[in-house]
Amino acid sequence: MTKKKEHRYTLEEEIAPHIDPRWSEEFILELRLTGVSGKQIGAALAEADSHCAESGESAEEAFGAPAVYARSLDLPVQSEDRSLSRGPLPTVVKLTGMLMLVWAVSSFVQDQPASIRLGGMLSLVLLAGLVVFTMRSAEAVLRLAVQRTGLVILANVLVVATVVLLSWFLRQELFYVPSVLLMTVGAAALVAGTLWEFVMLRNRPAASGDLLISPLEGHEAAARRGAALGWAEYAQVFLLPAATGVIVLLLILVG
């Protein structure tokens, strides 16, 4: 069994070999954004492919613009929570843990109590608010990310700049906390949040329901795509703690 080399249009070409993969990609994207299940998308695309194969027309000729056609099918939308609306709480807990840990480590290394500053607190509130907002309006945000990538990058830069400015200028010390305590709480929050996200990921109802497969494909294709999906999502969960670990290590070594 040869392992297919994955490139950008592998999925589109596998399900719809008779359609321009760029048309397929837009078609799939539009349906994903509105929350249609992978199975439904695969079936609709396979039927379109079958039509184009027999009529000899291109997808654009037969169906028109991919996004318009996708919407005209009025496919059912999955109502239960999908991977995006997992609940923002675990992520907020994770983020809080990370920030606490980072705040506390340098003070800990210098054997001093950690001072919680105004700027830091405001940054935390800001980040938490952003996470909640992103998860609540996941579809709108995703659409924006895809269509106006520049805007999203700008937004990210602005957020980082705001956090830095807040931390730099609003240095009023609100209160002191023993470093060890803050570190412990931070580490606990980080671990708890990560585990929570991990468990929610594992227990997601029928993870394969989100897979894009055509009704004509066998189990091999589904298994292959299922595996690929898992990797990306596990990375998503563990990336933040890993990064935090690195930062903490650096702070200890340098401080």
Partner: protein
């Protein structure tokens, strides 16, 4: 389009070919499949995927009992409409020829 399905289970491309052959002109995929999807959602048709002949697989549609009932209902309505319209037209024809005399 329900009538095109009445002859027996068929698939998208064949339906558009049948409609074109019966003089309705070219029906685009962009029009055909959303309509088929609506039939499917209303349970007027049953669907089944079958391997194609030397090509990709096809999604076959077949009228359900309710689908046939709908077809019969619409056919009856259409006949009634045609009868009434025909009656009106022949009346107005008679009236205009009477005017001409």
């Amino acid at each position: 389009m329900l009538r095109a399905l009445a002859a027996g289970p068929t698939y998208g491309y064949e339906i558009s070919a049948r409609l074109e052959a019966s003089g309705l002109g070219k029906v685009k995929g962009g029009t055909l499949y959303p309509l088929l999807k609506r039939f499917e959602a209303k349970d007027w048709v049953e669907v089944e995927w079958k391997p194609g002949e030397g090509g990709p697989g096809r999604k076959y549609y077949e009228l359900t009992g309710e689908g046939r009932w709908r077809l019969a209902e619409m056919t009856a309505l259409w006949k009634e409409f045609a009868a009434v319209t025909g009656g009106l037209l022949s009346e107005s024809e008679a009236a205009s020829t009477a005017d001409e005399k």
